[in-house]
């Protein structure tokens, strides 16, 4: 499951960043990928639709909350947790 979640999250972020998925490193930040606040909100919507989950995210305080958006890897981990919660 992990590989599949990672691939799909990276594909979503790559589309927002207009990059090839192969160029999205796990330790990349959204800022380094050039994804701004609107891009982030759109990416989170795509993640919710793709995995049928609800992501706890408030644009007023992106750094806070249960959903860690500091790197690509942290987003993948947070999505994995939400997917596991849903299927549990």
């Amino acid at each position: 499951m992990t590989q599949m979640v990672q691939d799909r999250v990276i594909a979503i972020l790559a589309e927002q960043a207009v990059l090839d998925p192969a160029d999205i490193a796990p330790d990349a930040t959204l800022e380094s990928l050039g994804i701004d606040s609107l891009g982030l909100v759109e990416a989170i919507f795509a993640i919710e639709e793709s995995f049928d989950i609800s992501v706890p995210f408030n644009a007023n305080d992106p750094a806070d909350g249960a959903f860690d958006i500091s790197t690509v890897a942290s987003i993948v981990a947070a999505v994995e947790a939400l997917v596991a919660e849903r299927t549990a």
């Binding site: 606040s37 609107l38 909100v41 989170i44 919507f45 609800s54 995210f57 408030n58 644009a59 007023n60 305080d61």
Partner: protein
């Protein structure tokens, strides 16, 4: 150029169904934001709003009228009746040709859209009521005011999202000032608290689930409201000649566009609108005692607005008061500037500054006197009302005590 004064005010919003009740709530720092009472609330992640409770259209309109009036029009008519009664104007004679109406609304008849989409999409009906279009159109409220009061001069509606009312009132001011009308009804209305109206805002991830706390470090977003406010803007000589009670003078107005981002505010665009309104009113910055802030309670707006105020006023920014009444009535989107103008009238006329309630912790990026939690007595001569809309469209009004 004619001087322009306000001779009547009316409102309905989450705090009260009239002006005296709204001002009493401002003085008490009372919160009108509650759990929403709307259909399918359990499917919303945002379940609070500044909703108008105990709204009984049958008490104000007959059955035929209700079939033509969306809620945003009903709210507008109620507010306008209060305003016109206070002004004591009768437009039936020649004055009707020299009077008009400019109203702001962002969404128009959102409840009508919502109900009829449900009928055709959810319930699978293939027929809708014949009045759907005249009910939902953005200019419906302006047109019904023109009919109810016989206003036959310049009349239209303005849609600039959260700045709609301020743009509308600014244009009404310019029309009277330039001699295009002797009196104008102006203000705005919004009624977006329905499933579709809230669901749309949820998508943007800028809404608070618990409270609107403008300028507070722990603010976590905006809360929607609904309602209307309408004012009578009148040529000063006309008002003076007929011995009308004058609530305040509309002294200046400016509007600017950020030309930058569809949702993120710009300090420069806001600052240019504020300084433009001062220039238009020909008042120095240090004459301003109070600013009714746009103050949405989002991270982005509040810090940008405070930075713009600091830029325009320099050292005087630390002496003036700035508060956001959205903490009490919520964000009425296209109607918000109109309801907020009531706080400006209260400041000028009664010397009471409406507070920013829900204020918990100072934010170093909003280090101004935001009149936290408790109303304050203060004599002010000039006040501003800010509105900065999505789309980067800004509109600021300047009012003076008469």
């Amino acid at each position: 150029m004619n001087r322009v004064v306000i001779t009547g005010a009316g409102t309905i919003n989450a705090l009260a169904h009239d002006v005296p009740g709204t001002l009493a709530a401002f003085r008490e720092g009372r919160c009108g934001i509650t759990e929403l009472d709307i259909r399918d609330r359990d499917r919303l992640s945002i379940q609070i709003g500044g909703q108008v409770h105990n709204w009984d259209p049958e008490a104000h309109f007959n059955r035929q009228q209700i079939s033509l009036y969306d809620k945003f029009t009903q709210f507008t008519l109620l507010a306008a009746r209060e305003a016109v009664a206070q002004a004591g104007l009768n437009f039936d004679g020649h004055l009707g040709y020299e009077a008009g109406v400019v109203l702001g609304t962002a969404g128009g008849g959102v409840n009508t859209w919502d109900e009829n989409y449900r009928a055709v999409y959810e319930e699978g009906k293939n027929r809708v009521h014949p009045f759907v279009v005249p009910k939902l159109m953005n200019n419906a409220a302006a047109s019904h005011l023109s009919m109810e009061f016989n206003l036959k001069g310049p009349s239209f509606s303005v849609a600039t999202a959260c700045a709609s009312s301020n743009h509308a009132m600014g244009l009404a001011f310019q029309i009277v000032r330039a001699g295009g009308a002797r009196a104008m009804l102006t203000g705005g209305s919004e009624s977006m608290l329905c499933f579709g109206g809230i669901k749309a805002w949820e998508g943007l991830r800028v809404m608070s689930k618990d409270a609107c706390r403008p300028f507070s470090l722990n603010r976590n977003g905006m809360v929607q409201g609904e309602g209307a406010a309408v004012f009578v803007f009148e040529d000063y000589e006309h008002a003076r000649t007929r011995g009308a009670a004058i609530l305040a003078e509309v002294a200046g107005f400016a509007m600017t566009a950020d030309a930058a981002d569809i949702v993120m505010p710009s300090k420069q665009g806001a600052a240019r609108a504020i300084s433009g309104a001062l220039r238009d009113a020909r008042v120095p910055g240090d004459a301003v005692g109070y600013i009714n802030a746009h103050g949405t309670g989002t991270a982005a707006n509040d810090k940008t607005e405070c930075a713009a105020v600091a830029d325009v006023f320099g050292a005087h920014a630390d002496r003036l008061m700035i508060s956001s009444t959205k903490s009490m009535h919520g964000h009425l989107i296209g109607g918000t500037g109109a309801v907020e103008l009531l706080a400006c009238l209260m400041a000028l006329r009664e010397g009471v500054i409406a507070p920013t309630i829900g204020y918990d912790e100072p934010d170093p990026e909003c280090a101004l006197d935001v009149v936290p939690n408790v109303a304050r007595e203060a004599k002010v001569e000039v006040v501003l009302s800010n509105a900065f809309a999505f789309g980067g469209l800004n509109a600021v009004l300047a009012l003076r005590r008469v």
